[in-house]
């Protein structure tokens, strides 16, 4: 009898019952909290009043002038935001990559700042600074006799979103440029290319994958954003329309679901496009080495020009933060370049009346981040370290949350869980825990990737050594793997926590009473009335501080984690 040519692999033996149980529990969670609501939304969109399949709802949608306009507006705003964000990001990315430029550190730090504050928080403040009767236009009117419509209608949405989201492009393009092997550029110079031709023919094409990834992210975020247009009083866009249909006409109205399906299709298509454009074109890893472009010193005039551009962009970036801070201390700020007088009253009011928002936020964001870290870590472990059949489906399902806009998830929860009664008679859809779970599902992809990255850095042999010395599988995980993953886990927790704390789109759908509302919702409610703006701004400042501190901590932890794993 011939001997088998390949021996069975001993490592990664068949999955244990415990691993099956864990996988099933996670699968059940994802089905209930992600798949079911999304499928419900899709099904309702295609159902007629008798429950049969129909395309009538879509025909209604595309036949309606308001929805046509909303669709066009949403695409227009998303495309122009990407364009404006590109204009803001590209010079900064190029300066950092190409020159030995002291402004680089400043760009890297301040360029990330907008991400700390979601766009809706600064939207109203931006109106006071750049709106028709805002600081800048009042001064322009006084001095030069003209105004610039920064914030008129869709312009306002585009402007606010671009200022907030351009760092996604900046970060991705900078990373791409850094990863270009220096010899790529030198080979072109050696063959006679220089200056702009070199940039156009070699540098720019090689940084394309990073640019596409960043641009698509911006497009999707803007397309799905609900709160910014609403606060700027722009209602004829898709996400606001979905929200308004469901909140004003009711959860039974099919048009809201049709809009959700359209939103999702665009999200999926954009992410698919991004994947297609970047798959197999990770130019950075084609060559060994890397090291980025050759950097050179700027001449005096170049440096002056560069600092002027960087200064202008950073002024724009900081404008919402500055305006928010001013607004939070202002007594009255209307039709004047600066507030009439300053007060601490808004902060007093926030702390005395609205402390509930803060506590709710801390509670929801902690629960969401806790769930994310547990499930993200477990999925990463199951995918990387077991031979469980279909384990990659868990990963894919969790990542699919990326393509589901917050408003869609919120509406899905409302529809799917509305009829489920809790013991007290309350609907499950309006139970506060659902807000935390929705936040967890929205943030899970990020926590999962963080856990995955952390686990990949830990050699399997470390775990095997523990088992070899007598530790059972669960004990080896608890005593070896989890301690080594701590850096990644903590960074994932803090990131999930910080971003969940200011998430609004799903929350806006699910909050039923003010007493259950988190910070972001409170800011939204305050900002809607002129009298509440000051308090809204104060709450916004607190949110920014909260997220800022968390982001800082997460970076510190991530750095330490990296330090200890390179031994």
């Amino acid at each position: 009898m011939p001997l088998p040519l390949t021996l069975p692999r001993i490592r990664h033996a068949a999955a244990t019952p415990g691993q099956y149980a864990l996988a099933l529990a996670i699968a059940a969670f994802l089905v209930l909290t992600l798949v079911l609501p999304v499928v419900t939304v899709v099904v309702v969109a295609f159902k007629d009043t008798t429950g049969g399949f129909t395309l009538v709802n879509f025909a209604d949608f595309f036949g309606n002038e308001l929805f046509q306009r909303s669709f066009v507006n949403s695409v227009w705003v998303a495309v122009l935001t990407v364009a404006l964000a590109t204009v803001l990001a590209m010079p900064l990315a190029y300066f950092t990559a190409r020159f030995e430029f002291r402004g680089s550190a400043l760009i890297q730090t301040l360029g990330i700042l907008p991400l700390i504050m979601p766009p809706f928080v600064g939207a109203v403040a931006m109106q006071l600074l750049l709106g028709r009767n805002g600081t800048v236009n009042l001064l322009l009117q006084d001095w030069f006799g003209f105004t610039i419509p920064f914030m008129e209608g869709l312009n306002g949405v585009i402007f606010v979103e671009a200022v907030h989201y351009f760092p996604f492009i900046l970060i991705n393009v900078t990373a791409s440029l850094r990863n270009i092997d220096r010899s790529m550029e030198e080979a072109a110079q050696n063959l006679g290319a220089s200056g702009f031709r070199l940039f156009r023919r070699i540098v720019f094409p090689l940084s394309m994958p990073g640019y596409v990834a960043g641009a698509v992210l911006v497009f999707v975020k803007v397309f799905d954003d609900l709160a910014t247009p609403l606060l700027l009083n722009v209602k004829d866009m898709l996400a606001p329309q979905a929200y308004l249909r469901v909140t004003s006409i009711g959860v039974a109205d099919p048009i809201g679901y049709v809009i959700c399906v359209v939103l999702m299709l665009i999200s999926v298509a954009s992410l698919g496009l991004s994947y297609a454009a970047t798959a197999g074109k990770d130019y950075a890893t084609v060559q060994r080495g890397g090291g980025g472009l050759t950097r050179r010193r700027m001449s005096r005039n170049e440096a002056i020009g560069a600092y002027a551009i960087v200064g202008l962009i950073l002024a724009l970036v900081l404008a919402p933060h500055a305006a928010l801070l001013l607004l939070s201390f202002a007594t009255v700020w209307s039709f004047s370049p600066l507030p009439d007088a300053y007060t601490l009253a808004h902060y007093t009011r926030v702390f005395s009346d609205s402390a509930g928002y803060i506590w709710n936020t801390l509670l929801y964001a902690s629960i969401a981040a806790g769930i994310d870290v547990l499930i993200g870590g477990a999925i990463a472990y199951l995918v990387l370290r077991t031979r469980l059949p279909m384990r990659h489906w868990l990963d894919a399902a969790a990542m699919a949350a990326l393509a589901v806009p917050g408003v869609v998830l919120g509406i899905g929860y409302l529809r799917a869980f509305y009829a489920v009664q809790l013991p007290g008679g309350q609907s499950l859809a309006t139970f506060w825990v659902m807000i935390a779970i929705a936040l967890a599902v929205r943030r899970l992809p990020y926590a999962l990737r963080a856990a995955d990255a952390a686990l990949r850095q830990i050699s399997v042999s470390l775990e095997e050594a523990a088992e070899n010395l007598g530790a059972t599988k669960p004990r080896a995980v608890r005593r070896i793997v989890i301690p080594l993953m701590t850096g990644g886990i903590v960074a994932g927790f803090v990131t999930s926590f910080a971003t969940a704390a200011v998430e609004l789109s799903a929350t806006l759908m699910l909050v039923q009473s003010n007493s259950d509302a988190p910070l972001a919702y409170g800011i939204y409610v305050f900002m809607q009335s002129p009298a509440g703006r000051g308090a809204g701004a104060a709450l916004g400042v607190l949110a920014v501080l909260l997220v800022g501190v968390c982001t800082y901590l997460s970076n510190r932890v991530a750095e330490n984690g990296n330090g200890s794993s390179h031994h």
Partner: protein, 364 residues
């Protein structure tokens, strides 16, 4: 359009080049003259400055002092894109977003050649490196050896004044390396282009290069043909870097009528009476210059000889290598292996003989 001998070969001259990065003195007063049409190697261990010097000729590094001349024309102030100096990068640096054809056409396009001229020249270059038919592929779809050829084609298609190769064979496997280096040599001779070849592999440099500059610590140690360098190394570094050498510490003592070299820790080498003995320096000879003779053989006056014992023995195939204990040092000896030879066992006493012509005295 044929790509051969279209241009007169150019001489390269490097004059007094110094280069530092902060406190790190990477190149120290480098002077070189490379005759037209030569295949010339920069050979040295990693960190010796050979790649830095190559990149300096290509214009990617700036010298603190000194100049580079091509046929007497100073190119030091020119940026890389105006030098017309073709370089093949160690990583090949093929642009992944372009096909093989676009890669090869790049330099011709930058030189503003008309389209109808570019096509045939690209085809000719690809044919020359044996890649006809692969022009439509992406670099990532090619093997390492094919990528290397594309990189070469991309550089020679513009007919640069000189060709610079930065460790061109280091990313190929051992068998392919031998094949490609021979092809490289043939191609270079066919084009007649002055070429510099950077390598840390002495066999590569010895087998295909006309002349070698051995470098260490940012200095050119010696320039010569492979055989000159092997037979007459100018210093201890060159002797040790090219092939294996016994470098023996000791002290000259007078020994009745003759002179002996006394090794610390016991043992001595009797030197031939007619030897020209310098006042200082260390004794150097190659393992294959030594032969083992029966201990009773009378010494010849024209040879150095010493008594020793076998410390270890290695079988290298064509040769046997013995390590002999001499005082506190070890002397390596290579003897041809013939089947049936009687082998010396570990611990055996032997008498070794080195002809006078093989003895070198090097003091640095």
């Amino acid at each position: 359009m044929p790509l051969s001998q279209t241009r007169k070969a150019v001489a390269i001259k490097v004059e007094g080049v110094d280069l530092s990065y902060g406190d790190n003195h990477v190149l120290k007063n480098v002077n070189l003259e490379i005759p037209p049409g030569d295949l010339f190697a920069f050979l040295g261990p990693s960190g010796c400055g050979k790649t830095t010097l190559l990149r300096l000729i290509a214009g990617f590094n700036r010298a603190d002092r000194g100049r580079v001349l091509l046929d007497g024309e100073d190119i030091t102030p020119l940026p890389p894109w105006k030098r017309d100096v073709g370089m093949v990068f160690q990583s090949y640096a093929l642009w992944p977003h372009m096909t093989v054809e676009r890669n090869v056409a790049f330099g011709l396009e930058e030189r503003g050649l008309p389209k109808q001229e570019i096509g045939p020249r690209v085809a000719a270059a690809l044919e020359m490196v044996g890649l006809t038919g692969l022009g439509g592929r992406r670099p990532s779809e090619l093997s390492g050896g094919q990528q290397q050829r594309v990189a070469l084609a991309r550089t020679i298609v513009v007919e640069p004044k000189v060709l610079l190769l930065d460790e061109p064979l280091s990313n190929l496997d051992a068998k392919l390396r031998v094949e490609v280096r021979r092809e490289l040599r043939e191609l270079q001779k066919r084009l007649g282009i002055t070429t510099i070849f950077v390598t840390h592999d002495q066999e590569e440099a010895n087998t295909i290069c006309d002349r070698i500059a051995v470098m260490n610590n940012g200095e050119v140690q010696q320039v010569g043909t492979p055989m000159q360098l092997y037979e007459h190394p100018g210093n201890l570094f060159v002797a040790g870097f090219l092939g294996t050498a016994n470098i023996i510490d000791g002290k000259l003592v007078s020994n009745g009528p003759g002179v002996a070299y006394e090794i610390p820790g016991g043992g001595r080498i009797e030197l031939p009476g007619s030897a020209k003995i310098p006042l200082h320096g260390r004794l150097v000879f190659r393992p294959q210059s030594v032969s083992l003779v029966p201990a009773c053989t009378p010494p010849s006056p024209s040879n150095a000889h010493f008594l020793s014992s076998v410390a270890h023995r290695e079988f290298l195939g064509a040769t046997l290598r013995y390590g002999l204990t001499l005082g506190n040092q070890e002397v390596l000896i290579d003897v041809p292996f013939r089947s049936g030879d009687v082998l010396h066992e570990i611990g055996a006493k032997v008498s070794a003989v080195v002809p006078q012509s093989a003895l070198l005295w090097l003091d640095r």
